[in-house]
Symmetry: C3
Subunit: 214 residues, 3 copies
């Protein structure tokens, strides 16, 4: 079971690293920039989670090979970018699987530390979302995840489903597979039907704004 999670995790970080590399390429970064953005996208979420929880050593410090994978995937992407761009659908699936697996891992880290369920869910969302957030901050683009993508919600739901099924006492294989099927289905449905959270649009009364700018 642990091996399945690890395998899916590796697929997930590879896919995330490749989409991160494309974002770096849109900004004409050099290879170092590509490797940094690829790695931040793929393992930044887990890194932020571990720093927030004080969960040391970080995953990639214990397993430097993860960092090698994301850097290699990033540089490789510079060679096969057109193929990656053409296979958007494939990457959407890999990204969805990665998101759910990241959420499962994030929940597990918090639960293993003896933290409450609410923090386990927060840990899942941080793991799932902060990679993309860091990518967008470094690439200086408006964080998509904060606007109209049902990404954090899928992470939250996956984590809730996972913890809920765990409480029922499901065996770990069924538990992980069910969570992945449910989570990926929600994610792909969200993409397919453009589900999204309500957007908050706030425009300052311009007179007020001017008064406060003085």
């Amino acid at each position: 079971m642990q091996m399945l999670i690890t395998c899916l995790y590796l697929v997930g970080i590879t896919a995330e690293a490749m989409t991160g590399a494309l974002a770096a390429g849109r900004r004409q970064m050099d290879w170092f920039g590509v490797m940094l953005v690829a790695s931040a996208t793929a393992i930044g979420g887990g890194t932020v989670r571990d720093i927030l929880l004080g969960h040391y050593p970080l995953g990639w410090v214990r397993h430097p090979e993860y960092l090698m994978i994301t850097c290699t995937a990033g540089v490789l992407t510079t060679l096969i970018a057109p193929w990656v761009a053409r296979n958007r659908r494939l990457f959407m699936w890999l990204d969805a699987i990665g998101l759910v697996v990241f959420s499962i891992i994030g929940s597990n880290v918090a639960l293993d530390m003896g933290l409450p369920v609410s923090i386990a869910i927060v840990a899942a969302v941080v793991t799932g979302v902060f990679g993309g957030l860091l990518r967008d901050l470094i690439c200086r683009q408006s964080p998509l995840v904060l606007h109209k993508e049902l990404y954090a919600s899928v992470s939250l739901l996956s984590s809730a489903v996972y913890i809920g099924l765990m409480k029922i006492g499901l065996d770990s294989v069924t538990l992980v597979l069910s969570t992945i099927v449910i989570g990926v289905t929600i994610r792909m449905a969200a993409v397919r039907y453009s589900w999204h959270l309500p957007v908050f649009h706030f425009a300052d009364d311009s007179a007020l704004v001017k008064a406060e700018k003085k």
Copy 2:
């Protein structure tokens, strides 16, 4: 006394979360974005401080209800945004109180860890300032706190006053209340009379360096 600080802290994070939510609304973020920016604004300063000092577990990991409060306050703000915008003066007061309370808490955390006074003051400033800084980074707006607002200075002065009065041996009730009165007074005076630190204007074309912007 501890309860008074906790109460004022809760008022402070609620007010900060609401102003954070407005900033998210100006960027048309969805509810997740609103909750993230609200939480980052309200408890991001304390989080950065605790990470820098290695002070684990973080406040909101120990008390997940703080996170619930900031998320709820953020989403609530989407419903009552015009009321919040109309009551700018009220929020300016709450923000000033929050700033001083954050500074007191930040100083206490560092002093309780046995760190020197200079680091306690830095901890206070980080607690007071980094929430707004994170908000501005996520919302991709120029950090106001770095330009013309006497915010960091108020935090620094509040912390210095607090530690100074503590050394004199004031009892804790008088100590906290005096610090709040002095800190809030300085903050509101700074807003009222537009006090600000000297601005450093540097233009690259060599000799055209002005010591200060007009």
Copy 3:
């Protein structure tokens, strides 16, 4: 030997703080902004490294005088900005020395924690590069280090040279001096001959983009 490294480290953070202050001045920040950007540029790399490695307490928490130095250097720079700007060549040398010294210190921190060589090299690069990255994020300018400057590579090579010579069994004085000479030479040659890593330019085929935006 330790004293030579400390001296060069102090020269390095002073020089970095001064260039950070100039970046803040280009954004018309106030004195607090200047001190924050100066400090982030000078000691932000080491701070990020220590947080990633869980290496507490942070350097400047143990030695608050480092922070005093960067803040003072920052504010001083507002007074002598034209002189700093005129002496670009001097600062390029100091910056190169600082970069190599930061890389040596970063490698040492990781090796002293018993971490593998690959992580020691990552620690060196983080120490060398993240100060400038933080500066550019706070000043909201495109991170130069990710585009065309051979900065991360010099840090990586310096760290590799340092660890390689260490394995050979060089005494520590020769070890540090050789690394500095080699690293600074590479850095200055990179500047002189405009060496840079390959740049990855990726432009979305706009038809594809439209398809994916739907």
